[in-house]
Symmetry: C2
Subunit: 397 residues, 2 copies
Amino acid sequence: MIQVAVLGFGVVGSGVAELLTGRGEGQNRPADDLLSLKYILDVRDFPDSPFADCFVKDFSVIEQDPEIDIVVETIGGASIALEFTERALRAGKNVVTSNKEVVAKHGYRLMELAREHHVTYLFEASVGGGIPILRPLNQCMAANEILEICGILNGTTNYIFTRMIAGGLRFEDALKEAQEKGYAERDPSADIEGHDTCRKICIMASIAFGFHVLPDQVQTIGISQVSLEDVAYASALGYKIKLLGRATKQEDGTICAYVEPHLVSLQDPLAGVEDVFNAIKVKGNATGDVMFYGKGAGKLPTASAVVADVIAIGRQMQRSAYRPWQPPRPEATVSADAIRSRFLVRVRGEDLPLGEEVTLAQPIPGEKVMRTPAMTRPELETRLQQSEVLSVLRILD
Amino acid sequence: MIQVAVLGFGVVGSGVAELLTGRGEGQNRPADDLLSLKYILDVRDFPDSPFADCFVKDFSVIEQDPEIDIVVETIGGASIALEFTERALRAGKNVVTSNKEVVAKHGYRLMELAREHHVTYLFEASVGGGIPILRPLNQCMAANEILEICGILNGTTNYIFTRMIAGGLRFEDALKEAQEKGYAERDPSADIEGHDTCRKICIMASIAFGFHVLPDQVQTIGISQVSLEDVAYASALGYKIKLLGRATKQEDGTICAYVEPHLVSLQDPLAGVEDVFNAIKVKGNATGDVMFYGKGAGKLPTASAVVADVIAIGRQMQRSAYRPWQPPRPEATVSADAIRSRFLVRVRGEDLPLGEEVTLAQPIPGEKVMRTPAMTRPELETRLQQSEVLSVLRILD
């Protein structure tokens, strides 16, 4: 078994504990049979937690336990988190983190420290929450020269813009709504002023371009100056306003990374990214544009990215890069006839066998069209036995 | 050095040779210094190729050369390609492929064979071309139970639907146009009838659910029956028609995988995927929906995914999972002031300092708004020195 210690039992840390053990809401199995949670470090007491046996308050217990292979740092901030990361690496333990501030400021030095001690420092969860982005950038696109990274990296600011554009709210009101919904912190400055986006673009730029791009090299403009008038002009021209973190390789080989609100054309897939969703567009010289999309924050998405790194370290010694498949299992593979969907059905004639009628502005004579309730295709076919069917299309709900 | 042999010098194989060596158009460095191209197997002669020294016609030269570590199979089809893959694995060589037919039909057996011979069989390029999808699914989402995979997996059929919906072309005319543009083969049946999508959903379902899902377990409906009337009704209801490959886990734990044209709501990010682009939406129990988007085919995108697998095997023995960063390089990191963009500028007063005027249906009195030509922000500020600036927003072009 590989023994894991989690530092910090906050939102992400508690999610990591739940996924590692399978003892969380809606979960029924541990993420990986190889992994065992041994310690949780927190200054607070959690006597009623299902993990009550695991809690320790003194980091040196973890540091000095030779059984601990992997330390997960989910403390946040760049002081105590940095100290414990360094001590864990020096003690020969692999470290996995979701802490973008530590990685953006100290990533290079910590990776060097890991290398010196023959361990690994991984941080997939530090960018994009549960969206796989660092490993694809680093591994799947390894044969590319990366030309540009451009992303909506902060869900709070994207939610605010979505509400300003679609809801007509002023910045202050959209921010207040985001706070009420729990999407923005009481002190929202790290989001609003772009520092969160800045840290994430630093980490991606460093992976893409191969040297550490530091936060103080990244000009950062936040969103608080954007007004409803700006939104109106942007809409009139076919743009949406988005806060982007962007890093480009110039023709002379220099790198420019910055954070700034941009007008994004409605034709750009980034324009369709709404609410608290994140998306990252990467341009490689061979692949062209590829885009990664999903929820960029939240307890379980972020925790699942942390645990994926933990599993990756666990598998590192194994030869197989894919989780092995088992042989085919006919008894576990059912036909599409089992899938219940709504359907759009066109029949010849005047009868309406089932469902809600659909009409065009210019109706096609001699046919009826309906949208059915959810059913399987065999059920649908039974209902349509008396009809001359022109077309059947399944609706993705 | 790690010595590589490429089987088949077609579209993908030649792209692999170019990326491995850096001897392709617009390329100036090999993908990885560790890798060296030793052989290319093809029955044809290429006397004028820059790789003329590498060609061999007899597979046993490669099979019996102990220096060859990695064999790249880009022959296509499931006969000779399968035979050479088996022989390479039995000879103790790692194999990388873009061949979806072989993987979908024989993946489980070939991974077992690789395991028995302590080598690796990788196939990132078999799904989604240059879009990173198999490694993210397998590694980054490893802490998730995958609930559903749903994707636009074939660029040809998506191009045809895009032209039917946006251009009003009939199916036959859209297909002809796709053939003229080189997006569809002269015999388009593998695309049109859904077999290509079927193979890809088999591979993803097998990775996601852990047992081999075979093409003949996947009910496959192609797109040739979809008419312009269907498109009209779909549009009237706020849907787009897309050919989807879909694999879902049922509540009883069984898996259903199928291929079928679907109506997709305009609110779904899949609806915005146009032309030859592909996109794959994956639902994990922890991450929720994540989506991967890009060009799903083409010489260099697909070749770059093949070479990424080759590099992954090369790095496999190394401890570091991220390509190591170098320390910060202030001389190589320029300020955002170097970036040329168009800007949307609002100024108080009646003067129009530069660019094209933008007006709203209900103009705001006392201000002028313009969209500038491309320039840097310092240039813009010089031009605006005499104006009272209300707002400046950068346009992402």
